[in-house]
């Protein structure tokens, strides 16, 4: 029993003593730790996208919700969770979610610490699908004609965002079509309208230009600034004065450079009434508007200065107030350029400058679409002057044998031609006649003399009339290194090309062509 008494006394003493230690249990503000929770949302968990407190999302977006705690998560917490619109949503610090219910949603991250204190942070999320723009029902319908340019024009359309009632705004543009050629004079410059509208319609109260094409576009955005996938891209035509119509055409061509075009419209009833138009088009700028034309039936004739483009004839009707549309005029060039030497021969003497005649009926030949190769070597020194292609050869291009020069030319429609020429060997190891003029009453001394420095032995010496393709004289198996013969002029025509040929026993052949003119007049002499 005494031990019980002693215990009670000690316990009572300890209880009283504890009262004197109360200062040890007082709250010290300096020892407190401020717990701060921070909630944020992001469109991506892993990349460095900015985290924000509020944002708008598409219903198909995945939203990442992030919660951070400072100073760190290493303290005792009782509970933490997320609420979406006040309803439990997740018990993770970070989670992702796709919200299918359009509208505004509030997310709150709630943390209850060891002392039952509640810490929270909230986020605002607006979710909607993209607006749907009705791109099949709008006014005026696509291609509407005869809109009065001097009366108000009303544009209407509609859009909505599924599942939620949202306000919409619209990006509206109205512009006048630009043409490569616009026949009407005096039309005022139309200033493009590019505006944002809060209502699904637009009233245009200013004047437009008559007989023009106008393009207009609309795209819808909802109040979350989500854009519609659909876009209205439409157009209409204005009318002109009573009794007038117009013609707008697209002239398709593959030629990138300008093609001069002439169009004539001949009235089929009053044939002496012909309207003429001159302009240029190319592959990228090829739409034309001929301005006001009296209504009626016409024969349209389209041709070009370039003969490679064939003339096009079409019967067309110009209707009162309407713009006749021709979008299938094909201006084609299927004729490739022609290539010839100025001598019209395919075998050419070596020269530091060779000249070629390049002809094309599309007016579009230049050095950019011309390549010249001496066998595998590309020759860059080439230029055109008065439709003559000049090709410069270097001294190092000379050879004791024939060389092949290849010229490739393509026109603006990518029609191409390639032709190869033989360049004769140079220097020659023999001497022979040059171009010569004689009277009919005279004779000519044909001579050929080998002087090669390599010791090659002569096998054959020959003179050929290239013009008549006949051999004049030929000596084979000879041990002579030269040959000459005097022939009377009456054996020759007024003009011929003669080829002097020497063939060595090792098979190497050299030749030279020269011209022989036979004159009946008193003029003569070597050229």
């Amino acid at each position: 029993m005494k031990s019980v008494q002693a215990f009670i006394i000690v316990a009572t003493a300890w209880l009283f003593q504890s009262c004197f230690d109360s200062n040890d249990h007082l709250f010290d503000e300096d020892d407190a730790i401020d717990i701060i929770v921070d909630a944020s949302l992001s469109k991506n968990m892993y990349t460095l996208t900015p985290s924000v407190k509020a944002d708008t999302f598409n219903v198909h977006d995945t939203i990442y919700f992030l919660a951070s705690i400072s100073p760190n998560k290493n303290f005792r917490v009782q509970d933490y969770h997320w609420l979406m619109d006040g309803v439990y949503c997740s018990s993770e610090y970070n989670f992702k979610k796709q919200i299918e219910q359009p509208g505004h949603h509030r997310f709150i991250f709630v943390l209850k610490d060891h002392f039952n204190d509640i810490h929270s942070d909230s986020l605002d999320v607006w979710v909607a699908d993209n607006p749907v723009l009705n791109d099949s029902a709008f006014i005026p319908a696509q291609g509407t004609q005869a809109i009065d340019p001097y009366e108000p024009i009303y544009f209407t359309w509609s859009a909505k965002t599924e599942g939620i009632r949202l306000a919409h705004h619209f990006h509206f543009t109205l512009s006048e079509e630009n043409f490569a050629y616009s026949g009407s004079k005096g039309s005022s410059d139309f200033k493009v309208i590019d505006t944002i509208l809060n209502e699904p319609y637009f009233e245009y109260h200013h004047e437009l230009n008559p007989l023009k094409k106008y393009n207009w576009t609309v795209q819808a955005f909802n109040e979350y600034n989500l854009a519609s996938v659909e876009k209205i891209e439409s157009f209409f035509y204005t009318k002109g004065l009573t009794g007038e119509g117009s013609l707008q055409a697209k002239i398709s061509t593959s030629q990138q450079s300008s093609i001069p075009i002439h169009i004539s419209l001949q009235n089929k009833i009053e044939e002496d009434k012909i309207l003429n138009y001159n302009f240029s088009v190319n592959s990228s700028n090829n739409e034309i508007s001929l301005g006001a034309i009296p209504a009626g039936a016409y024969l349209l004739t389209l041709n070009s200065d370039y003969p490679d483009f064939k003339t096009i004839d079409k019967n067309i009707d110009i209707r009162d107030g309407f713009v006749t549309i021709l979008d299938n005029i094909q201006l084609t060039d299927s004729t490739p350029p022609s290539i010839a030497s100025v001598s019209n021969r395919d075998t050419l003497e070596f020269s530091d400058t060779l000249k070629f005649i390049i002809k094309d009926g599309s007016g579009n030949i230049n050095t950019q679409n011309t390549t010249v190769q001496l066998e595998t070597d590309l020759i860059t020194e080439r230029f055109y002057k008065d439709s003559i292609l000049y090709v410069a050869l270097k001294e190092s291009d000379k050879s004791w044998t024939y060389r092949i020069l290849t010229i490739s030319v393509s026109d603006g429609s990518n029609n191409s031609s390639t032709k190869s020429f033989y360049i004769k060997q140079s220097p020659l190891w023999f001497t022979t006649n040059s171009d010569t003029t004689i009277f009919k009453s005279e004779s000519i001394l044909l001579y050929i003399k080998d002087n090669n420095q390599f010791g090659f032995k002569v096998e054959t010496l020959e003179f050929r009339n290239v013009t008549t393709n006949e051999t004049i004289v030929s000596i084979s198996n000879t041990d002579k290194s030269s040959f000459s013969a005097e022939l009377e002029a009456n054996l020759f025509d007024e003009e011929q090309t003669i080829e002097s040929i020497i063939i060595y026993t090792n098979g190497i052949k050299q030749s030279k062509t020269w011209k022989l003119f036979v004159k009946s007049s008193n003029t003569k002499g070597d050229i």
């Binding site: 029993m1 019980v4 006014i139 005026p140 359309w157 209502e199 319609y201 309407f322």
Partner: protein, 235 residues
């Protein structure tokens, strides 16, 4: 004296504490009366020929009945109701009871905008509301084209469609929106009263106009026929 040697003392102390505890129980408050769980107090309105609606909208041409509806309905009779016209300065009592009949006029002083519900314990709950006085929009039967008209042009011709609508509330901030229905295809044309539309093949067509205001009241014209003759193709 050793108190712990007397066996009756702990018993007396325990009995004393138990007695004090039981006396404390006698001082506990009575259990409260049964709580009346009213879910909601709804306000509805109707006019002649219509049924009650929570959309507090009336037209000015007929008297209207406004009533209160308590859910669950079994508690309806446990509450009393007072209808007021309330301003910032004062509340004017218009009537008592679950229903109140009024005539919609421009003078809103007889149109209630506040309900005070009182239970048996004199607990009160006030609800502010607004009764919208809205006129139904009216479409004029005169349109372009008129019924039976013939239009000359082509499928690309821009034909004029024009109509006229009126609403007594236009000067009070109401707005009229129109739908142009051509052959069953509806075009939202907003507040416009005319448009020019193309795409009409030669032959018989029909169109009508539907108008509705901000509060959902609407008017619809009967379909009107018109004919398109393609004069350009004939040439």
């Amino acid at each position: 004296m050793n108190l712990f040697n007397r066996s009756i003392l702990p018993f007396l102390m325990s009995a004393t504490f138990l007695g004090l505890f039981l006396i404390g129980c006698l001082d506990a408050p009575d259990y409260p009366e049964t709580f009346t769980p009213v879910d909601s107090i709804r306000i509805l309105v109707k006019q002649k020929g219509d049924s009650f609606s929570t959309q507090l909208k009336v037209h000015p041409s007929d008297s209207a009945v406004i009533k209160v509806n308590v859910l669950p309905e079994k508690y309806q009779n446990d509450l009393t109701f007072e209808w007021f016209y309330s301003t910032e300065k004062k509340d004017s009592l218009l009537g008592r009871g679950a229903e109140y009949t009024f005539y919609p006029t421009k003078d809103k002083k007889n149109i209630p905008n506040k309900l005070i519900s009182t239970d048996r314990e004199e607990n009160k709950e006030a609800q502010d509301f607004t009764v919208i006085i809205n006129s139904t929009p009216i479409l004029s039967d005169s349109t372009t084209p008129a019924n039976g008209d013939t239009l000359y042009g082509s499928t690309k011709s821009a034909f004029l469609f024009a109509w006229y609508s009126i609403d007594m509330d236009l000067y009070n901030g109401d707005t009229l929106f129109h739908i142009l229905d051509i052959d069953g295809k509806e075009f939202d044309v907003g507040t416009l009263l005319q448009v020019k539309q193309s795409g009409l093949e030669a032959g018989e067509h029909k169109f009508r106009i539907i108008v509705h205001d901000l509060y959902g009241d609407s008017d619809t014209l009967d379909y009107k026929k018109f004919f398109v003759i393609d004069t350009l193709e004939e040439k």
